[in-house]
Amino acid sequence: MSSHGSRALAHQFEDLDQQREVASLGMWLFLVTEVLFFGGLFLVYSIYRGWYPEAFAASSHELLVWAGTLNTVVLITSSLTMALAVHAAQTGHRRALIGLLLATMILGCAFLGVKAFEYRTEYLEHHIPGAAFQFEPEHFLHAQIFFSLYFIMTGLHAVHMIIGLGVMAVMVWMSWRGLITSEYYNPIEVSGLYWHFVDIVWIFLFPLLYLIGRHVH
């Protein structure tokens, strides 16, 4: 292959294509473990929702649906800027790459900002499970299960977002230093895979947490 001898190519790989495929495969393998990690939480959610559907519907109704919808749009937009960033890296547009990575980060921060506002609202409304929890008496116990799952699932999702922002900051730095070229853009591609996965988790969290029981009340 003509790519032999390229500085971007690590010695253990045949060519750049193989190197790229191996990098992506490694990230996919990690994402499979993430699917099972979040899958377990969705499983617990499903079992409890099956047991206490009324309490779950009533609890879900207390969440800020506009905030959840807004954040869905924000994350989908960040996935677009991420996909465009990978394309900019592939085609060697360094300035566009840096701009799109920064746009992705700004959208990620906006998501976390809205989420923080939601958590604050839930704190003020005494919807955090524990001694200060307040809810209509008939659902008092089981609503706490919903809100526990809500905080665990959205909290772990937010942790993934924060890690993603850290990864993106490194990507901006690498791009700034000129370490990303149209030959070697694996870090951008692989970070993009992770970012899109976190978006997918939210695509499921949004309807299952915010939208159940909207039609009931």
């Binding site: 495969l25 499979v32 099956g50 592939q90 547009h93 993009g192 499921f204 309807p207 159940i212």
Partner: protein, 97 residues
């Protein structure tokens, strides 16, 4: 994009991303609006179907599954298989108690 020259390599690539983005927004609007109609058990089915469709679009286009080698696709579908085992065996227990 700052210059036109490299676009020649993949002229339609970014266009596809914008189309997928638009479809994802429409799906988000649909899943949000349909939640206000009482469809009984179908509410959850519709919500999960739309979420599954959105996931497929993200995986296929944004995550480049359509141009990935077969080995990568096997790994990705393998993840779904393990998830299905996790869900099916646990549901098999809880639903038959």
């Amino acid at each position: 994009m700052s210059t036109d020259a490299p676009r020649a390599h993949a002229p339609s690539a970014t266009r596809v991303y914008y189309v997928v983005f638009a479809v994802l927004l429409v799906c988000t609007y649909l899943t949000w609006q349909v939640a206000y109609f009482d469809l009984g058990r179908l509410n959850t089915v519709v919500a999960l179907t739309i979420a599954g469709l959105k996931t497929t679009l993200v995986v296929w286009f944004f995550m480049h599954a359509r141009s990935s080698p077969r080995l990568t696709l096997v790994i990705a579908f393998g993840g779904l298989l393990w998830l299905a085992i996790l869900l099916a065996l646990t549901a098999g227990d809880y639903l038959t108690r």
